[in-house]
Symmetry: C2
């Protein structure tokens, strides 16, 4: 497996300040990898409000089932995440593994099992030996501290080539609150799901229902707007925790997403989610280029979204981007196959600022040299205007390179 | 662009006998390629019955629009096909090019323009210089003969590495009739369309409506059951011509697809279509392995089809096959993302005869060695049983290799 860091990796990682109310620890439990951490524990010393979104897969992993069930309580005391094994399609053994992990975590943290949240990422179908957690969680809970964000982001990586972290601040009642987030992605990334794994923590005081409403509002334009390879994981999990510690400094509790006091927080949350989502695309398996696809003038926003995804998921479009080829014929193809209303003779297509096609044919002023120059960039914007309505959508993806095939041809073995 | 012949190419090509009533010629018109033929003409000296299916793309090519219009007449005197340029997304220039080609062909053959059928394959968006045909069609019509099937199949190739031909016979009123077919494929191949380009000719006497009924009945289980890369072309065209010449030997005219005398022909047609469709998959861009995916026990046939296509189009499944990795976790993923009803704990999965998963988890008797042996073969059968109904479907695909990325990273330039 290639271990080179993606050329699209950030030049430096964001420095995440501590968020009062959460402590973090990582450990090497030896699930699959050697010489690296593979388990991460977050401890909330007081119950945190929690909200989440999960994969739409009809074959979800055992931890996804477990989280969905516990989410109804709206309160979290611990989060346990492991890499190397997804605990998916593991039948009764999978349920037993989630129960054992929850039991061990609850004992280590001193909480009830329905305040524990779990996520696993890695190989599907192999039984997960949760006994390996049981031996490390006690020590982890004791030594967890507030400054381990980057370590945590590293511990949850699989084929990711760099850890993904981001931080924002917002104002509530004039008090500054912090939002820290991490994510892991790389492969099996597609829209219509939450994301791979992403965990966001804030010290704001927010009711679970308000937190869920804000999370659900923003997921469509952020995590659900990225695709690496059109494949949707069994394990996608996005959880947001609000410790409420900022309440002690005068930040009032947000009871509703439509509360004017929630505006700054909601905006910061959306911004943080977009930051993490784009980091996932930039570390797509084998990615060398980041691609932003904007569709305008569609019959509806939904139609625009389907057309944008059809373009973003087309292997022919993605290989053309990899080859730095301004092959707009493949964009036409992808628009045509999306199944949404399109009128060939009203289509216009841009690469960057270069309009390559208009009124259903090549732009008479089209410059191959100018389009080629756009394709050489690291970040490429493709825009399609359907010319028939007001529907808009934006999707982020990456190119499809030989390295993707290489990484995925021998991942399991 | 790699020019090696696919390792899945047939050891030898079928020898196609002449079909009375059709003559064929090829020529090098210099559309795009150097030193090869790129235009093919079929002449029907008496009007042949014709039936067709076309791409479902919302942005079809100019020749597809042209054929759809002429198909209402049900009679053909000429077919002109070129490679190197798809005449798609070429606006008013595209319509002018089809009109000029039809006019030239009609003059060369001595027929009306609405008895001419056209197909173009190659780059999208470049204007097609139909003037190049005008100068060669007269001579082609004069020299066309009955034995040029393999030449014709070569002239319509783009990134195909070998020509695709097949032949069958059938009985009508005790008289043997012949069906000859050719196809080209390689990339932009996905279900829910006709196919790339395929042309079938028979000497049977069949009314256009009966011919269309039989064609439409068989396309679902043959051409629409193959996928190389999930991308649907703007130009997919499948035409069947019946010259009726066998009528002179006593084969009665088939007026209805449900006529008992049509049974042998219909079966031979289905068989021929499957043969050509599988040849397309075996020459998928970069293909090294042929994959047959069978889904059983689904809630309905439609659900089974969607699940089978979700597996067949998954980049992660296809790269695993390329890597000879029995990665059944990715099959579970693809079942889960298909959006159709599935019960994780009733799923069973086979690679060849090796059952790798049952009752929602790894088969207790699973042998990694036996599964690996299956993956080393050139033809791989994957079967999924959903265990919840009686819906069945079968889809053919190929693996996703680095050569696919290589071929498509610089196809246009």
């Amino acid at each position: 497996m290639p271990t080179d860091i993606s050329p699209l990796a950030p030049k430096s990682y964001a420095e995440l300040p501590p968020v009062t109310g959460v402590r973090i620890e990582t450990a090497a439990a030896g699930i699959k990898y050697k010489d690296r951490t593979d388990v991460m524990l977050m401890v909330f010393d007081k119950p945190a409000a929690v909200a989440g979104v999960f994969t739409t897969s009809k074959c979800p992993s055992a931890p996804v089932d477990f989280c969905r069930s516990n989410l109804t309580g709206g309160r979290a005391r611990a989060l346990v995440v492991n890499s190397g094994n997804a605990n998916a399609f593991t039948g009764q053994k999978g349920r037993a593994a989630t129960e054992l992990t929850a039991k061990s975590a609850a004992a280590a943290v001193g909480c009830s099992q329905d305040e524990v949240f779990l996520a696993s990422t890695g190989v599907i179908g192999e039984p997960l030996d949760a006994g390996k957690f049981a031996t490390v969680l006690d020590q982890m809970a004791a030594s967890a501290s507030g400054d381990r964000w980057l370590d945590a982001a590293r511990a949850i990586m699989t084929t990711d080539t760099y850890p993904k972290v981001a931080t924002r601040t917002a104002q509530i009642d004039g008090v500054t609150v912090t939002l820290n987030g991490m994510a892991k992605g790389a492969g099996m990334i597609a829209p219509d799901m939450a994301t791979m794994l992403s965990f966001i923590v804030t010290d704001a005081a927010i009711d679970p229902s308000a937190l869920q409403a804000m999370l659900s509002r923003h997921v469509g334009s952020t995590f659900n707007a990225v695709t690496v390879d059109s494949d949707t994981s069994t394990s996608d999990t996005l959880l947001v925790f609000a410790t409420g510690a900022a309440g002690e400094h005068g930040a009032g509790t947000i009871h509703s997403a439509s509360d004017p006091q929630a505006r700054s927080f909601s905006k910061a949350l959306a911004d943080l989610m977009e930051d993490l989502a784009i980091q996932i695309v930039r570390d797509g398996e084998g990615a060398r280029k980041q691609v932003e696809i904007t569709v305008t003038g569609a019959a509806s926003a939904k139609a625009a979204g389907r057309i944008a995804r059809s373009i973003a998921n087309s292997p022919l479009v993605k290989t053309a981007v990899a080859g730095e080829d301004a092959n707009w014929g493949r964009i036409v193809m992808a628009v045509g196959k999306a199944g949404e209303k399109a009128e060939r003779d009203k289509l216009a297509i841009w690469f960057g600022d270069v309009r390559v096609a208009v009124d259903g044919e090549r732009d008479p002023d089209y410059s191959e040299a100018a389009a080629s120059e756009v394709m050489k960039q690291e970040e490429i914007a493709i825009r399609v205007d359907l010319g028939i309505g007001r529907g808009k959508a934006r999707v982020f993806t990456c190119d499809l390179t030989k390295a993707y095939v290489e990484i995925n041809g021998d991942y399991r073995s």
